[in-house]
């Protein structure tokens, strides 16, 4: 009996604890937005959301991303990729088919989502996570974590759009702030379009006037990016030029150009992302 009491007291003490010092929860504060020239550029994080017009849960993910963009301002760039064999197939009510070969390629390249909504933050495999794809509860924390890391490279995008033939020539310049040791680094150029009104399934039912933001529309490079042959040593400036014809059904005033510098290989971490409007 004495032994029993001794061990029971041991258990009781094991589970007793002093009061915790609690973490500080401040609530949301909006971040600065607007142009970010290389001289003023901080770490700019890209969140690639996987979504679909037939995915009833996806509007909640898009609403969370809207909040995150409002909180992090220019330091967060959102892309919504419609690539799901179930959810992204257009319905008869849809005017647009948001699926693209490059979007499907990225879905495959980054690993498909386990469920929807799902997103990849800076294409980073975070410690302890089984894949790049993250549920919506994970996004805010990893955006903050990535944002805190100084950028190894900074980016500048100079587009020149010719409305006559809808051709855009794009110069992307990479400013290397810290030598990048990884052997394979790629540059991707992505087009997104904001404010597209089209059908979306929502928890309240079908919505024919849903506003689709930052919809992935295509790329001027292969989906995994164009390999950079140059060495990314500190102080280097590398400029790459691209040409692309903007399809007629894209509203040019709503089109964004996003440049992404990322590692290629088992890890696919994004070093920096940058966004400009096609027409400023």
């Amino acid at each position: 009996m004495k032994r029993l009491l001794f061990f029971l007291s041991f258990i009781v003490f094991s589970f007793s604890a002093c009061d915790e010092i609690e973490p500080v929860v401040t609530g949301a504060t909006p971040g600065a937005s607007g142009p970010t020239p290389p001289a003023e550029q901080k770490r700019q994080v890209i969140i690639e959301e996987f979504t679909g017009v037939g995915c009833v849960q996806c509007p909640s993910g898009s609403a969370i991303i809207k909040d995150l963009v409002s909180i992090h301002g220019s330091q967060l760039i959102a892309v919504s990729i419609h690539s799901s064999e179930n959810f992204s197939v257009p319905t008869p009510q849809n005017q647009y088919d948001f699926r693209t070969p490059e979007g499907d390629g990225l879905n495959n390249y980054l690993g498909g989502p386990l469920g929807f909504p799902s997103a990849v933050v800076n294409r980073r495999l975070f410690d302890g996570r089984p894949s790049l794809q993250l549920g919506k509860n994970e996004w805010p924390g990893y955006v903050v974590e990535e944002k805190a890391i100084p950028p190894k490279v900074k980016l500048d995008i100079q587009p020149v759009f010719n409305p006559a033939n809808r051709n855009v020539s794009i110069d992307v310049t990479i400013f290397v702030e810290e030598t990048v040791s990884e052997p394979d680094v790629n540059l991707s150029v992505i087009f997104t379009e904001d404010g597209i009104i089209d059908y979306q399934l929502t928890p309240e039912g079908p919505n024919l006037n849903y506003k689709h933001e930052h919809v992935f529309r295509g790329m001027a490079t292969p989906f995994s990016g164009q390999p950079l042959a140059e060495s990314l040593t500190v102080g280097a400036q590398i400029t790459k030029s691209f040409n692309y014809t903007i399809p007629a059904d894209w509203k040019e005033e709503k089109v964004n150009i996003i440049a992404v510098v990322s590692i290629d290989g088992i890890r696919k971490d994004v070093l920096q992302a940058h966004k400009v409007h096609l027409i400023e």
Partner: protein, 574 residues
Amino acid sequence: MKIQNLLDSICISCLLLAICTSGYSQEGARISGNLEFNGNFFVRDSSINAFNTPQYDRQLYGADSWLNLNYSYKGFDVGVRFDMFQNSYLLNPSDSYTAQGIGYWQVKKSINKLGITAGYFYDIIGSGIIFRAYESRPLAIDQALYGIRLTYDFDDNWRLKGFSGRQKQQFDLYESNFRGASIEGFLSLDSSKVTLAPGFGAVSRTLDDNTMNNLVATLNTYRGPTFDPNTGELIDEGDIFTPKYSTYAFSFYNTLTAGPFSWYLEGAYKTKDVLNDPLAPRETISGDTIIGRFIQTDGTVFYTSVSYARNGLGITLEGKRTRNFDFRTRPQAEGIQGLVHFLPPMTRVNTYRMLARYAYNIQFIGETSVQADISYRFNKALTMTLNFSNIDDRNGEELYREGYLELYYKFKRKWTLTAGAQYQEYNQDVLQGKPGVPFVTSFTPYFDFLYKIDKKRAIRFEGQYMTLEEVRGVLGDYGNWAFGLVEYSIAPNWTFTVSDMVNIKPGKLSPPENAPVSTKEKKHYPRFDVYYTHKTNRFSLSYVKQVEGIVCSGGICRLEPAFSGVKVSVNSTF
């Protein structure tokens, strides 16, 4: 190399060295083990949605394997397991996972009344409501704890157990820390046939800094409290809260046995914990309303099971009430990831293909469930089984209902017939996360006939037909199914199986999903298997077309995409 892997490698080297140097020559030493190997060859078939994953598009092959080795000598028990995942879809059916290494090692030793376990261990407190570390390979669940476990036997009837560690995550560890203890006993009242097996357990989890920082970052996107600008009065508390690092869970349980009666009772309480409430609304700072947010609340589970067995009659009545009892190593983990406990399912474990199609998925956030299972053996030849289960959510809305009848008849030693029917109501909206889809109401009669041709040869036939009730003139989900199977076995080595599952009347979600139902065609999902068994080795080769569906293990379920291809497996024990 990560420190964790380095430590594992050192430990394994020491263990293998100990095994090699002691060897078989040591009297009393014993080595045992088992191997499981599953290989998959993927054959793309877009007509059943078996495509658009790395395996179908470029990898074409994947394999999972586990080799377990146990060594016992002079009171020491050593275990080590090699795990291999190559292009595996077990972890995420939409993705590919490749890793291999030592997935488990353990050293055990008893010193008088003290038992010591170091390394990875599987364990349970009570029925697992506050803690269960277990493994379920089909879903890649491996909740082993990595740390130290001590047991102390006061006498033959009372045992105290304590442990401390971190939960395994593939070849890494979650960062949160766990500690737990339990005391379990056995009391026999001399004057009667009444026995008691009481127990008490406690578990604590402390969140690590990374998890907490991530959680705080999420809460920092929630709407804070709003105050009246004139009076300063609180108008709305908002959704933010200050999360706790430590959560404690306690459980009391007892089994009372009196003759043919047995009564199990368990009550569990969890202190305030952060959990994801998938149905809680939240207004974003942009003004949108979304469903699903973190909440911080305490939780309870009450579970009881009464059974009676005598004279061919067996009755089991069970009930469970769950409120806010999602207990995970990190609150952000979703689906089957990061669970540290197990809630007993209150539904039948159906094994026939169609009967298992709408398996119930346990709702940790809240449910009220009852189940009755009655079996009666009329005579040596005829047995009847009846089962009923009903599960509602925390607001009383129906989630699942099942009625089941089975008759089993055995004619001498020549043939047996199992026949019955299942009725199900299944809330697909909640249980499969498909909001807006109607309730699935199904009725499935079935039979299983086994005929022994002679002492070595037997043939077995299975037939099942599932019909779904139309909702507003529309056949929901995948619609109606027919399933047939023929199995021919030559004891003790060979078994051949041919089966086909036919989507005989496609429903709204049958592929292609957005096509009008009237244009959808019947689809066949055939399967051919050959099994060869030799002593303790078993080999199988299968050609499989498998429809998308729920895969469950003990009430823990996951929606899995379709499969098309060839499977091979090897199982061996030694």
